[in-house]
């Protein structure tokens, strides 16, 4: 197999032609290097086929890389931390150099984390790098997922990669939560206690799961060790394996690209791995790493020395989880009073069960949306051109509703801080967020859909009539008109090249029946595509230019 790479004028570039060893300055080295590698690893074919692979250049395509790079930083810094951290809940008395905790009873985990912070040069820096990089890791996954969703980059052939990415998001949260718990400080201890309370709320088996999780009654003496195994062994192994597959899939399917002149569903336009993309992406790794280190050098994160060791009696105002668990904590806060039942003597905690059902349901909708959309459109073709969000109004509106739902839950997790900072009553903030949780997504859905249509109409207008130039001309008859600046073919192409769908017409099958699934699909299809703005056609454009 050979890769066909040419530049945009059609001239072939290396990577295409049968290799003719070039001679000249530096060539001797490159030829020698290729030979050396091939004789030992037999990788020449691989380098030949993928070395000049093309990556489209767009800022939004770099977000996944931010996640990958923060993961690398997390792995590096985490390894350093394991050299000093003791994952043990054995009671000890702190005798390190942080004065306000001297002589205080705490677990070895907490004491060793304090030692990393105060008695090992650069230890605090690495701890802060690790934690900031972890926050950035989950945040960049979130932003990356939003980009993929709103551009429809999850369509065939990339649905499975969406699922893998989604799994990585969940794993990242699990990694985050287990890591957050490890220092055994007051904040994370109360976080664990909330988990314990939630687990106990699970019907029938909850009490026992909590009992096994904590090795007896909460807080027990085993949970930190257990979380440590998960945090540094099992979860990272799965995470790294899936990241590998995720990235290979991007290689195999090649990256999507936005519509543009010369670009089509069958080509990839951009920069080659060797050398431009390698330099850019490699340099970008150092920049992401640099941003993390800069933040870690100047901004405190998770000051466990303030929180103190875990003790079941104290608690701090503003007890919150890290941001990525916030949506779950927020959902707990948004449940109105009194949601608990007793049935035949058994206690059913709806105030816990409802969040425990709503959150996975929400996540499942996120995970399986690509399959739902594919089912509605019935489109089995490959899609390598990323949509502009406006050109898929229904998807964009559904996405906006989901984002709003998530954002309201997220905001609810800081309802107390919202109240103190804006001088409001916490009760009022909670009530407003309860209303917004239901009304917000609905409003966001309709508003977004309308905005998409309006933008599509504007695009259509511009594609047909050109830009408003702002130049007013008075005609001989006294009439004023604004001169429109016509578009170039290149500019127009961006506005008119998108996939357009019609609502599904249900037809009876060969037995003359219409199945329920078909009816549902037709109804969904109507919802999706009844209102649509078709792309400008050639005929329309021509009739316009004859005007």
């Amino acid at each position: 197999m050979t890769v066909t790479v040419s530049d945009t004028t059609g001239t072939n570039r290396p990577g295409t032609e049968p290799a003719v060893a070039e001679v000249g300055r530096g060539m001797r080295f490159t030829n020698w290097a290729a030979g050396y590698v091939d004789e030992r690893f037999k990788l020449s074919g691989w380098v030949r086929d993928y070395g000049r692979k093309i990556f489209p250049d767009h800022w939004s395509f770099m977000l996944g890389e931010v996640a990958l790079y923060s993961l690398i930083v997390v792995l590096l810094s985490g390894t350093f931390l394991t050299f000093f951290f003791q994952a043990s809940m054995v009671e000890t008395h702190y005798d390190g150099s942080y004065v306000p905790l001297k002589g205080i009873q705490m677990s070895a985990a907490m004491a060793s984390t304090l030692d990393i912070s105060f008695d090992i040069r650069g230890g605090l820096l690495v701890r802060q790098i690790h934690h900031w990089a972890a926050l950035l890791f989950v945040a960049s996954i979130g932003l990356h997922m939003l980009r993929v969703f709103f551009t429809g980059a999850f369509r065939k052939p990339r649905e499975i990669n969406w699922l893998l990415g989604f799994t990585l998001f969940i794993l990242a949260m699990a990694e985050g939560f287990t890591g957050y718990s490890l220092p055994d400080d007051l904040l994370s201890g109360n976080g664990l206690r909330i988990i314990d309370g939630m687990v106990k709320g699970v019907p029938v088996i909850g009490t026992w799961i909590s009992y096994l999780l904590f090795g007896g009654e909460f807080p027990g003496t085993t949970v930190i060790g257990m979380f440590y195994s998960l945090h540094i062994l099992l979860l990272p192994a799965i995470l790294v394996a899936i990241v590998g597959v995720h990235v290979i899939m991007v290689f195999v399917n090649k990256h999507t690209q936005y519509a543009g002149p010369g670009r089509s569903n069958d080509n990839v336009v951009g920069v080659p791995v060797m050398p431009v993309f390698a330099a850019k992406a490699g340099g970008f790794f150092f920049i992401v790493f640099g941003v993390i280190v800069l933040v870690a050098a100047t901004v405190t994160i998770n000051p466990i020395w303030n929180y103190g060791p875990y003790d079941p009696s104290p608690v701090s105002a503003g007890t919150q989880p890290d941001w990525y668990i916030g949506f779950a904590d927020g959902m707990l806060r948004l449940i109105p009073p009194g949601w608990e039942l007793e049935i035949l003597g058994f206690t059913l905690s709806l105030n816990i069960l409802v969040p425990l059902l709503v959150l996975p349901l929400f996540l499942a909708l996120v995970a399986f949306y690509p399959f739902f959309e594919a089912w509605v459109t019935g489109d089995k073709r490959h899609h390598n051109i990323a949509d502009r969000p406006r050109n898929a109004p229904m998807r964009t509106a559904i996405g906006a509703a989901g984002v709003t739902f998530y954002a309201v839950m997220w905001a609810a997790a800081s309802s107390d801080l919202i109240a103190t900072h804006f001088k409001l009553a916490v009760e009022g903030v909670t009530l407003a967020l309860q209303i917004l949780l239901i009304a917000g997504p609905i409003i966001a859905f309709f508003v977004t859909r309308r905005i998409c249509f309006a933008l599509q109409k504007k695009d259509r207008e511009i594609a047909l009539h050109g830009y408003e130039s702002g130049r007013i001309v008075r005609l001989p008859g006294g009439q004023y008109v604004e001169v429109h600046q016509p578009l170039s073919d290149y500019e127009r192409w961006r506005l008119v090249s998108y996939t357009d769908y019609q609502p599904l017409m249900v037809r009876p099958d060969k037995h003359g029946r219409i199945s329920v699934a078909q009816r549902v699909r037709a109804a969904a299809s109507r919802l999706f595509f009844e209102d649509r703005i078709a792309p400008v056609t050639k005929t329309e454009l021509e009739s316009q230019s004859h005007h």
């Binding site: 001297k102 941003v291 000051p303 105002a317 941001w323 997790a413």
Partner: protein
Amino acid sequence: MPRSRRTGRRSPLASVALLVIGLLTTGGAYALVTSSATASTTSASATTAEEGEKLFMANCASCHGIGAVGTTDAPSLVGVGAAAVDFQVGTGRMPMAASGPQAEAKPVQFTDEQVKALAAYVATLGEGPAIPADEFLTGEGDVALGAELFRINCAMCHNVAGAGGALTEGKFAPDLKDVDPAHVYEAMVTGPQNMPVFNDLNITPEEKADIIAYLEYLNDHPSPGGLDLGGLGPVSEGLFVWIFALGAIVAVTVWLTAKSN
């Protein structure tokens, strides 16, 4: 080294020495003045109480009533003690500007002497907590014990870093950063507004001094990790990572993928 001798008088060491001498003298003078002031309070309390009564009649009696017996608008002040007055008036919470969920700290309306006079007057109305002695306000004490007591008794409202927190119906526990030690002590003994009382049998004066020592430690030592983002914990950390860290990185991606000119 003629060069250094020539500039010797202006060398940094000299200015440091001058600064130290200056601080010592002013500090010493301050210590003298303040200690003599406390020494004289007892003898002068009769006259200052009269001063205070006049001030009270002019500024407070409209709400708290003549003789501070209380009205429908404001509680009786009989038996609240000098500490309560020193806290409420000394932090500007009283006189109250407008009725809200709670009285908030604002610029102080009276001079130090006037506050002490008001306190002396209210103290004559009934027995109550006195203004704390200076020995408990030095910021010296067992910082570790103070921190532990703070976590158990104070952190649930005021936050572990003393950054404050929300209470019900718009009320809040205030930020404790740079609050005067005397006011911290007085708040504990008097339980202003919705704050519970921590009397001396619950938390001894020595323990209160330890708590103050811990708060002073926090005031004197900025967070070892760098900026503390208000001490608010994961919420401000999450906002920071999204807005500043990821924001900066997205800006870089835009530059990275833009065509060079």
